[in-house]
Structures are given as C-alpha cells and as structure tokens.
Subunit: 134 residues, 2 copies
C-alpha cells in the first residue's frame, strides 16, 4: 500500500471521505447525483482481475457497504455501480444514486453534461448522512 499514489484527475474530481480496509472512499465533486468512488490503495491495478483474490473480496464487501450507505443516505430508487477507466486507468469504482427524472435518467451518468459543484451546506449534509449510514 505504501507505493499507492492517487491519480491526479481522481484527486481533482473527488474528495476523500474516509479510508476503508482496502479503498479510499471519495465524494465526487458533482452535486447532480450523490456519487462516491472506491479506489483500492494498490499501485498498478487497472482491471479487477489484476487484483489478488483477497483484494477482490475486500472490494466487493466495501462496494456493498458503500452502496447500501449511499442508498440509505440519499433515499434513491436505484444504485448504479461501474468501473470503466477509459480515461483514468487507475482502478476506481463508481457508486451513484439514481432516481427517475434525474439529469441523465435512465441513461448512464458518465460523460453526461458538466459537473455542478456542491453547495457547501448540501455537501456537508449529505456527507454526514452517508458517514452515519456506513
């Protein structure tokens, strides 16, 4: 874990909420959706099959925990989970709260329009609800 360095673009687009056993849990700087990232603190990983079986299992459990917390904190209809990495190769998993009528519904959020910054109070409120739900 010691040689893990977060990709600069992930660092720019998201904010660290907490470190789990394997992953950094980060809030995306886009208020259009409650949207977090899980970034395994491992170097040189871009595909899930490059991780050890133990790390794969850890990632799955952290995904389930984070997805459930995002659902509880947002009250959303559906969770979207995705690991694309077409633009940023460092492995990162998106967990996004979706609702009917949201800006991209029912399509995917990636590449949809421009990010809309969080208002400070709304970010603090969602973050508090999310950390309570974890």
């Amino acid at each position: 874990m010691s040689d893990f360095v977060l990709d600069p673009r992930l660092e720019r687009d998201s904010t660290l909420l907490m470190k789990l056993g394997l992953c950094q849990l980060r809030l995306m700087e886009d208020s259009r959706w409650p949207w977090v990232l899980l970034v395994p603190q491992r170097s040189g990983i871009s595909e899930i099959f490059e991780m050890t079986p133990l790390d794969q299992t850890m990632l799955t459990f952290e995904t389930a925990i984070a997805a459930k917390a995002v659902k509880q904190a947002s009250g959303c209809l559906k969770i979207n989970v995705g690991a694309l990495g077409n633009q940023v190769r460092q492995f990162h998993l998106h967990i996004i709260a979706r609702d009917e009528g949201d800006p991209a519904w029912p399509g995917p959020v990636w590449g949809h329009g421009q990010a809309k910054p969080w208002a400070t109070s709304a970010r603090a409120e969602f973050t508090e609800r999310l950390l309570e739900a974890l």
Copy 2:
C-alpha cells in the same frame, strides 16, 4: 436457485453461453462490442447489497474470470464493468470490451445508438475464443 426466472428483456437482448457457479454468462446481441452479462441465478435481487456475502464473493470471482476471458478473447484495451439496472431491475452485470475509436469511446456504451446484430460467423468465432479463454 429453483425460483429464478430470467427477466424477459435480458432474455431477448442476450444469449446463454454457459452457467457458472452462481451466474448465467450471456452474450449480448450487439456486435458493436464484445459484451457479456453475468446474471446471478437468484430471485428478487436488484442491488449487490441484497445478495448474501457468499454470493457477493462468488459474483466477484465470476466477474474477474469473465472479464479476463473477454479481454483475452477480444484483445481489447480496457474492460468496462457496470451494474446499472435503471431499466431492468433484475440484477445483471455488464462486462464490455472497449478500444480507442470504438463507436462510443471514451464514453459508456449504455444507451448509445442502436444494437447491431452479430453476423453468425463472427458470433461463433468470438464465442469459441471466449469459451476457450474461460
């Protein structure tokens, strides 16, 4: 597993390749990308955190196996993995081979244009390579 019934839309849009320990592995009927689905043979699941920890672990290992096989069989640059379910609630995981310059690159494939049917020979050739790589 006995009361599992595949969603009719997933059945229409994809073809069974084989059954793994937990999931059906299915080929999407869209030749624009080598694209498979994993569908856990469990009823009433729409989110990953609704699965048992054992099923979550099985899903992860089957995801890694299938993703590695899709990468080998296609020679693609990057694998995209996603579980959205905005339109079909039955849990299903997409595994897609992506390359620079493909029809949706670098955006996501979901909701992009119209599916293009496979030619019979191309489908057979990709399926054979995929099953060999598994």
